[in-house]
């Protein structure tokens, strides 16, 4: 009798790989994937900002950073793997969970759902989509160099003049506007994501959670304000050609 009632899992005895695959495909597991890749991408953004701010120091510091990043395999592939693994997983999981979520409510409410939630949190898919397109444009501009004004001459040592590329790009008000606009949406995305990833990974505390919510707001909007300050500084002539 007691044996028959014992709580047993149907999947007991399945392989490690099978059990992990099952977990990562589950509702909670896919959110663990979102959180872990989100954390990786967030750390990438923090590192990226640290490099960008060198533009305030001057041409030589910024170009030295650009060259150091390209020549240091660990740094370069660390950053690239955060993107190459993080981005596809983050995006594919987002698409899958959105499909699950839509299927979970086939008949919509006649009266709008008024249950309170932050708008930035409700529109993660939209802000994420815009950030994704912005990311592709940004790669086309600075990494693949197929769009935007590009310096015609290389540096004396044969490297690309990243500093001039940045200044020439941001002197175009339209390009600056695209960058600043994308930062606002990235800020909104992070203002929920930075809190949400801790919740998905199971961290919760009476003092810790409200602190994380505030941290997400400050980190999200703070980081993006710092990013957006660079095109503004170029337009205002603070960062000079």
């Amino acid at each position: 009798m007691a044996d028959a009632m014992e709580l047993k899992r149907d999947t007991a005895g399945e392989s490690l790989l099978g059990s992990l695959t099952r977990f990562f495909m589950s509702a909670v597991g896919s959110k663990v994937v979102m959180a872990a890749t989100g954390l990786g991408l967030f750390l990438f953004v923090v590192g990226h900002l640290a490099g960008n701010l060198l533009a305030y120091v001057g041409r030589d510091a910024f170009n030295a950073y650009a060259i150091a990043l390209k020549s240091n395999a660990i740094l370069l592939w660390g950053a690239r793997s955060a993107l190459l693994i993080g981005f596809p997983l983050h995006i594919l999981t987002a698409i899958r969970t959105v499909q699950l979520n839509r299927a979970a409510r086939p008949v919509p409410y006649a009266f709008d759902n008024k249950s309170p939630a932050r708008t930035a949190a409700k529109t993660m898919m939209l802000s994420g989509l815009v950030v994704m397109f912005y990311f592709l444009y940004h790669l086309a501009h600075f990494t693949w160099r197929i769009t935007g004004p590009q310096p015609v001459t290389l540096l004396p040592d044969g490297n690309f003049d990243a500093y001039s590329m940045l200044v020439m790009g941001f002197q175009q008000p339209l390009i600056s506007l695209i960058y600043i606009g994308a930062q606002v949406l990235l800020a909104a995305h992070l203002s929920h994501g930075v809190y949400s990833m801790f919740q998905h990974l199971g961290f919760w505390g009476t003092k810790w959670t409200p602190f994380l919510k505030k941290t997400a707001l400050v980190a999200g909007y703070g980081l993006c304000a710092a990013f957006a300050s660079i095109p503004l500084a170029v337009l205002l002539g603070i960062i000079k050609p």
Binding site: A2, N101, A110, Q199, G202
Partner: protein, 247 residues
């Protein structure tokens, strides 16, 4: 007072439903929302029309039967109350009120405002219990449990299984319910031996029922008539992650 109601009418599970307009008269501000619905039904029956079917039982906020989304908010959206505890004094003469059932694939509408919440029962049956015989009520403090743990368990145990969390969630996720039903056991010594099997089973059943995924909007917490915190969801996630490591 006189009210204009828009109520979801659906003859049965298989036929399509629609919002229908009704005018209800003679509503007193001392009535509960369910008494207002009773008044509407009396008026409908006097006219020879089919009354609106809705779930109700204890009418004191503890059974979890009543389930209406009122103007976009499950249970009407007042802090810590169910529909039966919602008073008509919150409305005024001439108000328009939209009344809909819980909307989720896992909660099919049976008739009008009545939905089938058996999906919740199946989640509990998959792991929301302890399989040891616990006997009769033990002597107080025979099994010492720290006050803090007992409180966390009791807060989760307040869940009445009404389903407002699912109804409120943008994604129709059942995480608050499922996690509450695991949390109230997982904070007690009796719940420990099966802790990880429990969360794995309940999570699998929750997915199989077709609920959505959690995006941490905390809409569930905001509308929960028992004010259960999303703390239970984080605990559930943490236990599921630990369960992977423990095999």
């Amino acid at each position: 007072m006189k009210l204009k109601l828009h109520v979801w009418r659906q003859p049965n599970k298989d036929q399509a439903g629609a919002m229908k307009d009704y005018a209800v008269e003679g509503v007193s501000e001392h009535m509960s929302f369910l008494e207002m619905m009773d008044t509407l039904n009396e008026q409908l029956m006097n006219k020879g029309e089919e009354p609106v079917a809705f779930d109700h039982d204890c009418r004191e906020g503890i059974c979890g039967s009543c389930s209406m989304v009122i103007n976009g908010l499950p249970h009407g959206g007042h802090k810590g109350v169910t529909v039966c505890q919602l008073h008509m004094r919150h409305f005024k003469d001439g108000d328009e009120i939209f009344i809909e059932p819980w909307r989720a694939k896992a909660f099919p509408v049976l008739k009008d405002l009545v939905v089938d919440r058996a999906a919740f029962d199946r989640i509990v049956a998959s792991g929301g219990y302890v399989s040891v015989a616990t006997g009769g009520a033990p002597d107080a403090n025979a099994l010492p449990i720290p006050k803090k743990e007992a409180d966390l368990s009791m807060d989760a145990a307040a869940c009445i299984g009404c389903g407002a969390c699912v109804a409120a969630c943008k994604n129709a996720s059942a995480m608050l319910f499922t996690a509450a039903k695991a949390s109230h056991l997982n904070h007690l010594p009796q719940g420990q031996p099966e802790r990880f099997e429990r969360v794995k089973n309940m999570s699998m059943q929750m997915d199989a029922e077709g609920f959505g995924t959690c995006t941490n909007l905390s809409q569930c917490e905001a509308v929960c008539p028992k004010e259960i915190s999303v703390r239970v969801i984080a605990e559930f996630n943490a236990d599921l992650i630990k369960a992977q490591v423990k095999g």
